[in-house]
Structure formats: C-alpha cells, structure tokens
C-alpha cells in the first residue's frame, strides 16, 4: 500500500502476539468451554460424590451407627476423622478423581478440537501451536483444581471432626493433601496431554495406563513401578493409612513394610520430570503434526 502523499503508511501488519499472550488468550477461551461442555455428570461424580459420602458418614456417626474403636480381622483399629479423611483422599481423589480427570481432560486437549472440527479455527490464528496446547492445559489445570480442591475442603470439614478428630490438628495434613492433589492433577494432565498428542485412541490408552498398568505395577517389586505416576505420588501422601485389609490399606502396608516408598525429594523430582517431559514432548508433537480433519 503506498500513500499518495508520501507520508509513512500506518502499520497495517498486526503484531504477532507473544507466547505468553497467546497462552493467556487460549486459556481464556478454553476455560469456560471446559467447565461446561457435556461434563455435568462428571462434575457431579467427581465433586459431589465424595461430599455426599462424607455427609452419609457424618449422619451415621450422629446416629451412633459408627464408632471409633473396632476390630478388623482380630486387630484393633481406630477409625476416626483423620483416618476417614485419609481414606477418602486416597480412595476418591488420589486413585480415582485425579487420574480420571487427568486422562479425560488431558487426552482431550487436542482430541476434542479435532473431533469437533474446531482445531482449524485455532491453528489458523497467528498463535504458536505450542501456546494452544499450553493454554488449554492451564485451563484444564485451573478447571480441575476448581472442581477437586473445594470438594476436598468440604470433605475435610465434614469428616475431620468426626469421632474425636480435630480440624486444627488436621489442618497441616489438609494443606499437604491439597498440594498433593494439585501436583497430581498437573502431572497426570501433562502425561495424558502427551498421550493425547501421540495416539489416536488416546483415551483407551490412558484408561489402560491408569486402571490397568498403575495398580498392577505399583505393587510389583523391582523398577517397573518407577514408570507410574502413583508411585511418586505415594511418596508424598501424608496420611497413615488404616491397615484394614481393604485394597488400599493392603497396598500401603506392603509398600511401607518394604520401605520402598520413595522419599519426598525423589517423588518431587520424578513428578517434575514427568510434568516437564510430558508437556514438552506434547508441545513438540503438536507443533509438528498435521491434523487431517474429517469433512
């Protein structure tokens, strides 16, 4: 475009937004979308389920149907607020909600856009493709965090004071739990973002990993379990689990007896490596891949 008067033309080429700006745009775009699209049932399960169970337990206690002391398989056990809370953190959040949310959202970061044929709209913008993935990943993280963490909080306040537990005394554990779950969401999300970028049938791969590979391998001796996320997460669990013969109790018992849980440092390093590696590789893949859309 030349100006007839010789004055410099107004800047007409839009400036390509920086990576961070792109990430924040994608994040803003994806956040609400993630929270609402056809996932209500899911939200109810993940958020409401544990709270409902906590309320039921509280009701049982108030009706004197539940007391702290008891015997399981001839052993004395104490089940009080802290123990129940620990059980719920383990049974609901750590081994159910977090991996499942990670698999579902993580693998769908790109897959959903391909499935809904909307990826063209994103990839034809002047945004780096890596930023699309990172932005959507952050949206997932915030979205999942906003679902899971308040639910944990509610469960804590409902369950902790039961049967002689104390909110004040359990508070440090709550903080650790919240941090642990946030880390879990981040790591699982990153890992499955990679899986989603790598495989076509990413969801099945994710489910096999979470519900097939992890539970089996984590109790096997040897180095295999280092290829799971839950191994490293277990190293950060603050609760003493009740050794009650349930599967989780059993697993932890085995782990603790053999003192094979990694130390917190090893755990954090391992989780950090998975997070960085998963996300980095996923970005690399997304930048190189051609996405052919069905008509």
């Amino acid at each position: 475009m030349s100006s007839p008067h010789g004055s410099p033309p107004p800047p007409s080429t839009p400036v390509r937004p920086s990576f961070a700006a792109s990430v924040s745009r994608i994040y803003n775009l994806s956040f609400g979308q993630m929270l609402w699209s056809r996932r209500t049932v899911f939200m109810v399960l993940v958020v409401g389920g544990p709270v409902a169970v906590a309320l039921i337990l509280r009701m049982l206690v108030s009706m004197d149907l539940l007391d702290a002391g008891g015997v399981i398989d001839g052993r004395p056990v104490t089940i009080d607020g802290p123990v129940i809370f620990g059980l719920m953190i383990w049974g609901f959040y750590l081994s159910f909600s977090v991996p499942l949310l990670g698999v579902f959202y993580g693998t769908s970061l790109i897959a959903d856009e391909v499935e809904d044929k909307t990826i063209t709209y994103l990839f034809t913008r002047p945004l780096p493709r890596g930023a699309v993935l990172i932005g959507k990943y952050l949206a997932y993280l915030v979205c999942a965090g906003l679902l899971v963490l308040p639910s944990v909080m509610l469960v804590f306040f409902v369950v902790m004071p039961l049967l002689g537990g104390s909110i004040g005394a359990g508070f440090p554990d709550l903080l650790k739990d919240l941090a642990l779950l946030a880390v879990g969401l981040a790591v699982y999300g990153a890992l499955f973002a990679l899986v989603g970028a790598l495989f076509k049938r990413s969801l099945l791969t994710g489910l096999v990993f979470v519900f097939g590979w992890e539970p089996i391998v984590v109790v096997l001796p040897g180095y295999m379990k280092r290829f799971t996320v839950s191994y490293y997460l277990q190293g950060l669990v603050p609760h003493a689990m009740p050794q009650d013969g349930t599967v989780t109790g059993l697993v932890l018992q085995v782990l603790q007896a053999n003192e094979i849980l990694p130390s917190a440092t090893v755990s954090l390093i391992g989780l950090g490596a998975i997070l960085a590696g998963g996300l980095g590789l996923a970005v690399w893949l997304v930048q190189r891949r051609e996405y052919v859309l069905e008509q």
Partner: protein, 324 residues
Amino acid sequence: MSRRTRYVALASGGVLTVGLCSGLVAYLNRGIPRGVAADAPAELAFVPSDASAVAYADVRAVMASEFRERIRRIAPDGVGREQLERRLGLSIERDIDRVLVFWAPQAGEDGASGLALLSGRFDAARLETVARDGGAVVSEEGGARIVSIEVEDVGSLAMAFLQPGLVAVGDLAAVRSAAGRGAGEAGIHANEPMMRLLGRIDTGSTAWAVGRLTDSGLFGLVPERVSARLPPVTAFAVQGRVNGGLGVSLVIEGRDDQAARNLRDVVRGFVALAQMQSIGIPELQAILDSLETGGAGTAVTLSFHLPADALDFLLSMTSSADAS
C-alpha cells in the same frame, strides 16, 4: 468468561478461601495436638512441663467392661475393698472415674517422684477426718487443703483436694507443687516432645501411658543387663482399649533410624520366637496372629488384640498357676 463460569470460579475459590482461613484459625487455636484434643483428661493441666511419663486409666470404662467381669469371675474381690468402703465411704468401682499418674523430677532431689490424680466423687470431710485420726496434718497451699502424714522409710505422703472431685495423692513435695500449680504456669502442654507422644494416643483409649526415657533406663523396670543390650530407646507410647477383648498398641521411638530398625528386628525376632513356641496352643496362636509390628522412621509399632476367649484362656492359665 461467561457469567455462570465466573460464578463457579467464585464459589469454588470462595470455598477454598473460607476453608483455608477457618482451618488456619482452628490450627492456631488447636491447644493440644491431634488425638488428645477431643477428650483429653482435664487433669493434664496439673502435670508439670518436665514430667517424664504420664499414665492414665479410665476406671469407669474398665469397671463397666466385660473384661472386668471376666477378671472378677476368676479372681473375686478381696476383703480390702469392703473395709475401704466402710471406713472412707469410698468405692473404687463406684466413686472413681479416672486415674492419671505422672512422674516428674523433684527440685533438689534425685530421680522422679510420682503423683496420682484421682477424679471421681469423694467425701472430702470424711476422708480428712479419717486421716487426722491416723495422725495426719492439714495445711493449705494455693487454696487447696493438703492432708499429709509421715510414714517411716517412705517419707511424707500427702493428699490434696485440688478441685471438687479431684484428689492428688503422692509425696508431700509433689502434692504441694501440684496444688501450687496455678493457672498460667507452664504445664505439660508446653512440653512439645511429650505432646507429640500424647498425640499418638487415640481418642477412646481406655488406658494409656507415654514417657520419655532418659539414661536412667526404663525406670528400672527392665534389668540393666537387658536394657544395655537393647537398641537405645528415647520414648514410648502404649495404649489399650477394652471392649469385649483387649486391644493394645505400643509405639517406641528409637534414637535414630538405625536404632529403630534394630529395634524392629528385635521385636520381629521375639514375635517369631513366640510364634514358634506357641505352636499347638491355638488360643496363644490367635493372640500372636493378631500381633502386628511395623513403623517407619524412628518409630517402632507393635499392636495386638486379645479376643475375649483368649483372655479367658490367659486368665485360666494364671489362675491355674496360682492354684498349683
């Protein structure tokens, strides 16, 4: 962001913030660490901060339990009980609810002296009269009446009515200091290691004891030659719960990880030995099967459960031993 998305984010952030704030407030006001918070005996307030061991028993719970019934069946109550009731108007079964005993070093003295705190319903006037008849002296300290008596070889024993329904019994110095222990004085709550041990006690335990061990060994309970060979132990917490049977769990703190590991090995060794010995005695086997050892870090845990019939068996063994 749409309006409902913003609402969800706000609600969720709100829950988190409110939760964290109220949790923090509760944490700062928690007073006693977890475990002992809910129904810790009020008598703990009279325990000085330098106490090295505290033991507690819920007499009422024991008396009301089936366990007690079984013991009574085998070993009937002695005559002393009747006498006590007639003279003092005091029935252990009826009038005493809880007993808390602690050991603390006495100023200017070697070793520790113990003090028992009994809570229940006491006829103070009658007790005092009886004591005076026996030659006791009454004094006052910190608003509490102290009845003391000199006993040969033992020293001065004393009894004080600290509060309505709370009696301290022990040597005079200890009772004095307990009576003088007013509000604001640093008590056991200021002793963090002890409070940590108390934190190991589950709520609802019928009886428990915690203690920190100094070089003087296990209060001389364990022969020196044995204790010398045991890995160094710094603290212990033991608790029992009576309900039908008897559940006991014990935590021992080793000096360091190495000591704890050694201790675990020793305990496992003992258990294994016992298990070998008990072959052919199913009742004993059941107890040993319920034995559980474990622990992590510096802690060693041991727990077992005596079911009701195992108790019968054990008691019948002891009574038959008595009889023979």
